[in-house]
C-alpha cells in the first residue's frame, strides 16, 4: 500500500519535471543552485552616433559649441522601469597643447517621443565628471525618445588657434 503511494508520488514528480520547459537552466554555484527562466521582453537601444564637429571659435573666444546630432533611445522592454541618459567627456585638446577648462552638455527638449513616457532634460550640465543629462520617466510599456544635444567646450583665456578634439560618451541604462 505504502509502496504504491511512493510509486504514484514518483510518477507525479516525474511528470512535473518533464513539463518544466527546457529553458529552465540550472546554474551550479558553489552554494545553492538557482533555476532561471527565459524572459520575453525586448531590448533597450541607443542610436550609434557619428562623430560631430565643433563650430570655429573666433580668436579669444571663451567657448566653442557643436551639435552632437540625434540621440534616440528605444525601450522595448515592456516595463515601467524607464531609463536614464548620462554623459561624460574627456578634456578637449588642440594640436598645440591647450586644454579646455570645462565641457557642458545640453540635451535640449525632446525632439519627439512615442509610447507612454515623459522625457525630461536637466538642461545645460557639466560633464567633466559623468552626470545624468536626460531621463525617460513615468514609462509604461514600449517607448522611444529623441534628443539633439549641444556640446559647449570652454576654452582657457590663453587658448591658441587650433582644432580641439575630445571624446564624449553617451550612456543609457
Amino acid at each position: 500500500m505504502k509502496s504504491l503511494r511512493i510509486i504514484a508520488n514518483v510518477a507525479i514528480v516525474g511528470a512535473i519535471v518533464t513539463l518544466v520547459p527546457a529553458t529552465a537552466a540550472m546554474a551550479a554555484g558553489s552554494g545553492d543552485t538557482t533555476a532561471t527562466f527565459t524572459l520575453v521582453g525586448g531590448s533597450l537601444d541607443v542610436t550609434a552616433a557619428a562623430g560631430a564637429a565643433l563650430t570655429d571659435g573666433a580668436p579669444g573666444a571663451a567657448s566653442v559649441a557643436g551639435s552632437l546630432g540625434a540621440v534616440s533611445v528605444s525601450d522595448t522592454r515592456g516595463s515601467t522601469a524607464g531609463w536614464v541618459l548620462s554623459a561624460a567627456s574627456t578634456t578637449f585638446v588642440d594640436g598645440a597643447g591647450s586644454v579646455s577648462t570645462g565641457v557642458s552638455y545640453d540635451s535640449g527638449a525632446t525632439t519627439g517621443s512615442t509610447g507612454t513616457v515623459t522625457p525630461t532634460s536637466t538642461g545645460s550640465t557639466s560633464i567633466t565628471a559623468v552626470a545624468p543629462v536626460a531621463a525617460g520617466t513615468l514609462a509604461s510599456g514600449n517607448n522611444t525618445a529623441s534628443y539633439t544635444p549641444t556640446l559647449t567646450v570652454e576654452l582657457p583665456s590663453s587658448a591658441l588657434a587650433g582644432d580641439y578634439t575630445g571624446t564624449v560618451t553617451t550612456s543609457v541604462a
Binding site: 529552465a24 538557482t34 524572459l39 533597450l44 562623430g51 564637429a53 548620462s86 575630445g166 550612456s171
Partner: protein, 356 residues
C-alpha cells in the same frame, strides 16, 4: 595591463580619435534603425513576479557563490558594427542610477566576466553573451552596483569622437543567509505651489531596508471641496534610492485644482513592495505648507501574504504532529509522546529507545 591600456586609450582618445576608446573597432553610424540594443535573456525563477528583476540583474548571494545570466546584444544600425561588451562601476547619485566613466572598476565589475568582450555584428544580427559573476569567499557584505555596457565608437576624424553605450543595471547584494529585506517609509507630505502657480505635492521617501529601490507611484485626492475627487496622478520619478538615502518625490497637479482641503493618498512602489500614506492637504496661495506627517501608513499586501503563509505552515505542522501522534496511539506505540507525557515524573533512567 588591459585596464591600464584602456585608461591610456581613454586619455589619449582626444589625441587619437580615429582609434576609438577601448580600441573598439570604429563604426560608421548609419541612419535608420534603433541602434545598438541590449536585452536581459533570463532571470531567476524566485524573482518571477518582480518587475524590476525582468529588466535588471538583481540578486542576493553568499560569498563564494556564482551568478550566471545571459544578455543579448543586437545591431540595428543599418551597417555592420563593432561592439565592446564590458562591466563597469555604477553609483546612485542624487536619485539617479549612473554608470561611471569608461570602464571604471569596482569590486562587482572585477568579479564579472563576459564570454565575448568584443563582437562584430552584421546589420540585423543578434548575439548571446554569457555573464558570470564570481563572488569571492572573502567578499565584504553589502550591496554593489554595476552596469553591463554594450558600446560603439564613432569612426572618422571628427573633432568630437562619440562613444554610445547602452546597458543593463546590476544590483548585487552580498551577505550570508537570506536577502536583506527591502523597506521604505513615506516620512512627510507637503503641499506646495510653485512660482507659476502650479500645485505640487512633495513627499519624502526614506529607504530603511537593505537594498536599493527604484520608485514609482500614484497620488489620489479624495473628499475635496464639494466632494470632489482627483487622480490618480503619476509620481514624477526616475528615482533610485540607495540604502539609507531619502529623496523628495514630487507630483505635479493641474493648475485648475481647488486649494482643498483634500484627503491625499500616496502609493509608492518598488518591485513587489508598496507603501501608502494618507494625509489631509491644503494647497497654499503661494509657497509651501508645512510638512504634514502621514496619518496612516500600512504595509503592503505582500507582508500580509508572507504572514499568512507562515501561519498556515505553523498550522500544518501542528496538524501533522497531531495526526502522527494519534496514529501512534492507535497502534499502541509504547513510546508515543502521549504515553511519555502520562508517565509519573520520577527520576528514571532515560528510555533506551524513543522514536521522535
Amino acid at each position: 595591463m588591459r585596464r591600464l591600456l584602456t585608461l591610456i586609450a581613454l586619455v589619449a582618445g582626444s589625441l587619437l580619435p580615429a582609434a576609438g576608446a577601448f580600441g573598439t573597432p570604429a563604426t560608421t553610424a548609419a541612419s535608420g534603425g534603433t541602434g545598438i540594443g541590449i536585452r536581459l535573456v533570463d532571470a531567476p525563477v524566485a524573482t518571477r513576479d518582480n518587475p524590476r528583476a525582468r529588466v535588471y540583474i538583481i540578486d542576493h548571494v553568499s560569498p563564494g557563490d556564482t551568478v550566471e545570466r545571459h544578455i543579448e546584444i543586437s545591431n540595428d544600425t543599418g551597417a555592420p558594427a563593432g561592439v565592446a561588451v564590458y562591466a563597469a562601476a555604477a553609483k546612485i547619485q542624487s536619485g539617479s542610477f549612473v554608470g561611471l566613466e569608461g570602464d571604471t572598476p569596482n569590486d562587482l565589475s572585477t568579479w564579472t566576466t563576459l564570454s565575448t568582450p568584443r563582437l562584430q555584428l552584421a546589420d540585423g544580427a543578434k548575439q548571446l553573451v554569457a555573464v558570470t559573476i564570481t563572488v569571492p569567499r572573502d567578499a565584504a557584505p553589502g550591496e554593489q552596483y554595476a552596469v553591463l555596457w554594450a558600446q560603439t565608437t564613432s569612426g572618422g576624424k571628427a573633432a568630437i569622437t562619440q562613444v554610445s553605450r547602452v546597458g543593463i543595471r546590476v544590483y548585487l547584494s552580498v551577505g550570508p543567509g537570506g536577502e536583506p529585506a527591502s523597506a521604505f517609509t513615506i516620512e512627510s507630505l507637503t503641499a506646495r505651489r510653485d512660482a507659476s502657480g502650479v500645485p505640487t505635492v512633495a513627499a519624502t521617501v526614506r529607504n530603511t531596508g537593505g537594498r536599493a529601490l527604484d520608485l514609482s507611484g500614484t497620488l489620489t485626492l479624495d473628499d475635496g471641496p464639494g466632494g470632489l475627487s482627483a487622480g490618480p496622478f503619476p509620481v514624477t520619478l526616475g528615482t533610485t534610492l540607495g540604502r539609507g538615502q531619502s529623496a523628495p518625490v514630487t507630483v505635479a497637479l493641474d493648475r485648475q485644482l481647488p486649494a482643498g482641503p483634500w484627503a491625499a493618498t500616496l502609493h509608492v512602489t518598488s518591485g513587489l513592495l508598496t507603501e501608502s500614506a494618507q494625509a489631509s492637504l491644503t494647497f497654499p496661495a503661494a509657497g509651501r505648507s508645512g510638512p504634514v506627517v502621514p496619518v496612516e501608513q500600512h504595509a503592503s499586501l505582500w507582508w500580509w501574504v508572507v504572514l499568512l503563509l507562515i501561519v498556515l505552515l505553523g498550522v500544518l505542522g501542528v496538524l501533522g504532529a497531531i495526526w502522527t501522534m494519534s496514529r501512534r496511539r492507535r497502534r499502541g506505540g509504547r513510546h508515543s509522546l502521549a504515553a511519555l507525557a502520562a508517565r509519573p515524573a520520577h527520576p528514571a533512567p532515560p528510555p533506551s529507545r524513543i522514536s521522535a
